[in-house]
Subunit: 210 residues, 6 copies
């Protein structure tokens, strides 16, 4: 059949120059990482599993914050490398809280799946706090790099998904940054205005030293 043959020729012509195109770039963590993300696995070894990840298991909230963050970020979820999106699951038991934090690399969009949350962010301009109680199906957006928080404001377990406009949003929890390392207490005090006793107490809890 002439049609078949012709298309076949046409196809060969195009695909030869497409040998390594960039429809996607599934992360190969054994190769170098660069500023734009991980190097790409060969397309011939990519499967549908690279693009799928399970967040179906609730995070363990039997802890003092009564909450858990379960992220699907690269390289654990290799298919998102370079695609400009990622996602995480939040589980918050009653009284659970996701403490003040920032994502240096992306804005976040949250949707409540179960229960209710109080969520908010703080602008850098005039330190305005935009916060609101969110119910099932409510969506809230948190601008890139700004301090924000979520806590369970209801009487039952809460679940939410948070998505990011980057495959590498980052996550900096302020308490961890201040109290869960060896930054000397005097420097923490000097740069945060917090009392030394307060700092030492939280360093004790979080495992920070000095």
């Amino acid at each position: 059949m002439m049609f078949l043959q012709a298309i076949f020729l046409f196809s060969l012509l195009i695909s030869s120059s497409h040998a390594s195109d960039l429809d996607f770039c599934v992360a190969d963590p054994t190769l170098p990482v660069g500023p734009a993300g991980y190097s790409c696995k060969k397309v011939s070894s990519v499967t549908e599993k690279d693009f799928v990840y399970s967040l179906g298991t609730p995070g363990n909230t039997s802890n003092i914050i009564k909450a858990a963050v379960t992220p699907a970020f690269a390289p654990t979820f290799p298919g998102i490398n370079g695609l400009g999106v990622s996602i995480a699951r939040l589980d918050l038991a009653v009284d659970g809280v996701i403490p003040m934090h920032t994502h240096p690399g992306a804005s976040e969009i949250l949707v409540v799946i179960e229960g209710q949350l109080c969520a908010g962010f703080i602008s850098s301009l005039d330190n305005i706090v935009y916060f609101k109680t969110l119910f099932k199906g409510d969506v809230m957006v948190f601008p890139q790099g700004l301090l924000h928080f979520q806590f369970n404001s209801g009487k039952v377990q809460a679940i939410a998904y948070v998505s990011f406009g980057s495959a590498y949003p980052g996550l900096q929890i302020t308490d961890y940054a201040f109290f869960k390392n060896d930054l000397p207490t005097e420097i923490v005090a000097k740069t945060t205005f917090l009392d030394v006793a307060q700092i030492k107490k939280l360093k004790g809890v979080l495992g920070g030293k000095n």
Copy 2:
């Protein structure tokens, strides 16, 4: 108190130059739109409501595709303007389908909330189809601009959320593009290789002309 006064001076110094900074840019649809999105509402008239949207109401699936897409895109959801994220809710009744489509402006990440879906995308290289049945809590990523689909492969209603790495992902449903406008049937036939009868049938269903 000297401390208070001092910080106050410091504060004045900084905030004066921050009068219009860009923590966020809530869309004001009455002002001009540009390539990067909508113009920004004045910060003084921004409230927490601008950053919150409800996707809590199921879309109406009493239709032939037995499915509904309910997006939270700008300008309906003004707070996401310029922030590089957006979200939509998918409701699929039993046998429901989100037909083949692309998002020209962003990659998509999907999470299943209820039921099960079969979802997939087609690479432009060698036309490989990456598809998989997804269950509650499963996440799948769809690279920017590539054809993809979702359909309910289970026996109960399915719900999913899809997030995008852009506030303006766009949505082009292939069937609508081909059959729901006045592109002459002969041009559709010439450029898609579909039979004229097939085109006329689908134009009839979808309201296309010529």
Copy 3:
């Protein structure tokens, strides 16, 4: 001469820190690929040939679409890696057609060199079709990710060049995506509303299975 010596010193000072600057990044296909493109060949082995490519040979249009696309994309044309541009040549015999397709990664600009073309694209908003007959010297732009087509609307051979605002624009031909792979016919039918007979016919022509 003092001037010479002085400039020489100045030069040394600057170039030492420039040992691997990024004027360009000629693709080395033997090194890893990342989300931003191929790794760079050492500058010492780059020649002017890396930046030059020939599209002077007409594509073979002795096929059923009576057309050919000859791209100058990375890595075949290594000098464009990372530079945000690429180009392809279109040859369309009388009645030739470049079928409906998208470029997921870039907008396209076309210029007619010989003959005449009918070209158009379909917006995702209201499915408006913007199409026009183009003559020698006419330029048309096709926005990123949107479905578009070109066909020879004249009585002689047509030639055009299409340029892209990316070195990796991608190319997804809708017919290939639907009919030139092993995506099961029932899934194609469900997600495109096309009749099974139509699908099987085109799968037959294009070599698709299942």
Copy 4:
């Protein structure tokens, strides 16, 4: 027919939230310009003509450089606004030359349509000159911001198209920058090492003052 009605509902649902999406952003030069380009014309007043431009008329080469550049840039070609591509036509009579210049905002890709050109660019690292004689159908790429040139090296008229990975590539001709304004001759001399007589001569030719 139930199918029609159902799709119709589905359509309404989607398009309502798409009222101002950003498939494209055709420039409206009467509205403000921003760092990302011109404000967008309302979609309802966009036509296919906004996306089409003619470069079919040869530029006038009856001048001393025996060459002409005819650009299709925004806002003259409003459809390319924000789309990341643009194009220009080069006409070079025998002995014609496009003088040394840069494009501050984009890389360039050139294709020869008629005749032959000698074209080259100069790297900032070690000042290497990559230049080559190009014939009909040859393509050459010029990295962003680097000095480059083209001249007719053949015995007949030459035509080329140059495309850019930006709708606003800019164009800075070195001679114009140095000699076609009121920058005092002594400053030109001090910052270029050129002789005053040379500067005054070229200022005279190009209309510069002081």
Copy 5:
């Protein structure tokens, strides 16, 4: 003279299409702001003053932090709008401190001009603190969005300049975000693990309520 006339024609040809090109986009604060920055002032009313700003006056450090930040950000410094850079001056008296803060929109590069500083940032991965004492002429870089600080570790006044890879880097001082607004003390306590007494003390100092 033929040369003059010819160039003149060539010039007209080019500049006509350049009527509003985007060499720069000096902010006009009376026009709308968008996600990419301020709208541009007309080029005809731009002067060299738009591109120059004085940071020559020391900031007032007679305050409790004994430090001052004097920024040159848009719109106060209109010429930087859209250009991807900005700068600020730091003055730190003996014992002065720039408290813990982030820049949501850009990385920072600091150079010490006088005196000595201790400066550091905290990674989000494992909360590692990278800090060092810096002397005159030392440069340090702080990655986008990460918590960082500077304090005078010497015995004389210190001066530094900090530059940013954005015209809109933003500045969020953690203490201000936590204590200088009306975010209820119980929410601050819940989301920071700080003691209520500590919060009330700092709210008192910084003017926060509730």
Copy 6:
């Protein structure tokens, strides 16, 4: 203590998925370079020294331009890789000059530390020269890719720092590009309109051939 244990669990959960996040990407010059920059050193071998660089030593201005540029660019300063900023020090003795040049990859912001400078840039539109005498503490911005210059206009040594909105700004000195390589004199003459004698003179000084 229950709190400690709980946070610990929470921490493990998060950090496991963060094994290679992208807070920063310190250049490892032994690994491949790509269009977005150098590959990243392993975080475990990164130290604070990677983020610090000294520009404290004056450049040697005992040369004919009586000036020196001392850059802190990647890979010499590995911590800035991928962070979108870089910096250089300018030393200008009395009568010193930084000749006409461009940065193809970034805008520049300059601050005067000592002495006075005359600095300016030339727009591509109408070749307007924006120049001004700058004193200690004055800041000036130079848009990406445009020709600009600085020279000492005072009676004492001048020092300035110039920062860039890219880790790879590039630097192309026009005189070096024209006269410090083997580009044949006849091509330089043809593409710059300079006299052959002038070209040969400057080639002689700068070491160019042909």
